[in-house]
Subunit: 141 residues, 3 copies
Amino acid sequence: MTSDLPVLIAAVSTLSALHLAFQARRVGWSRMKYKISPPTVTGPPEFERTFRAHQNSVEMYSIFLVVMWISGIFFNEVLAALGGLVYIVGREMYFIGYIHESKKRLPGFYLVLCALLFLTVMAAMGIIQSFLDKYLNIRLL
Amino acid sequence: MTSDLPVLIAAVSTLSALHLAFQARRVGWSRMKYKISPPTVTGPPEFERTFRAHQNSVEMYSIFLVVMWISGIFFNEVLAALGGLVYIVGREMYFIGYIHESKKRLPGFYLVLCALLFLTVMAAMGIIQSFLDKYLNIRLL
Amino acid sequence: MTSDLPVLIAAVSTLSALHLAFQARRVGWSRMKYKISPPTVTGPPEFERTFRAHQNSVEMYSIFLVVMWISGIFFNEVLAALGGLVYIVGREMYFIGYIHESKKRLPGFYLVLCALLFLTVMAAMGIIQSFLDKYLNIRLL
């Protein structure tokens, strides 16, 4: 029954969810280190960078899930899962870099953008192909 | 294989993801304009309104995706996709209005709420219909 | 057609989306009570706790959806839906507790973590089972 479900996309999604939870955990550790109790979200620069690094992941997470799932289902599951893994690596680079210095978030950020661009292009191609097939009966490839 | 997948919902989802990314991009442009480097999130009123306009979209984006996909799969794909397009238009009105003046975010906000209400009602009807069919063997319509 | 779709997961998702929207609504009411107009997000402690309680829900909402849907589709729909209901109860306890006092958010927070752990373990087991079946032709159970 589950044999045609996109298990690779599911695996990368679960991994990315755990990674996002781990970022939230590290914000909590930074709160303890600098003794900043919720609901305060301001404090020493390192805490604020850690807080914002996690927030940026939250802001982009739904975008990532949308384009990974759509490219995985409508275009190619293996490529979408690989794009998803690159995205997670980029997010970790972003997080670690940002904590050290604002500018050091940029290499990870560019890797994240590359992964999202790759997934978005595949999603768009999959949607066009599926739309032509379903509504106009035109089969590409 | 992909011919019974909800390609219209996938297309509107991808469009909405690009729109959310474009809002994030405009926050970045506002950062440049007012020379506000991350992780700072406070500054001149226009920057703060731009920042919050994007945040509000982030806060509501998952809610939107949930009700659009469920109404599209369980009720009617074309109506769900149309509701999704109205939502995106509302979000753009909200964003542009909010940048100019806090109160000007309201027309877009009400359009967003209308779209979400429309999608939620369809999702609820689709769920009830599917639940009755699956568990009680009752077929409405 | 819709009879093998995970309608229980869809129902709990829609409920959780409405609950998240209701939290946003209560932030709006807190704005009115303390006369804090957008885009301001600082003010009296009770307002700031209400604001952060909602933000925390937003931050974790996508994680919740990912593990509930994957555990529901790849492992067991009824258990995943129950885990989802526990998550929503935990979020409400978190929200109400946090508004009264920062420390009172903790019981709800632990319940939320238990629900997410439960869903994540089921998601992981479902993924492993499905992966072995699909790529290695090994059927567990």
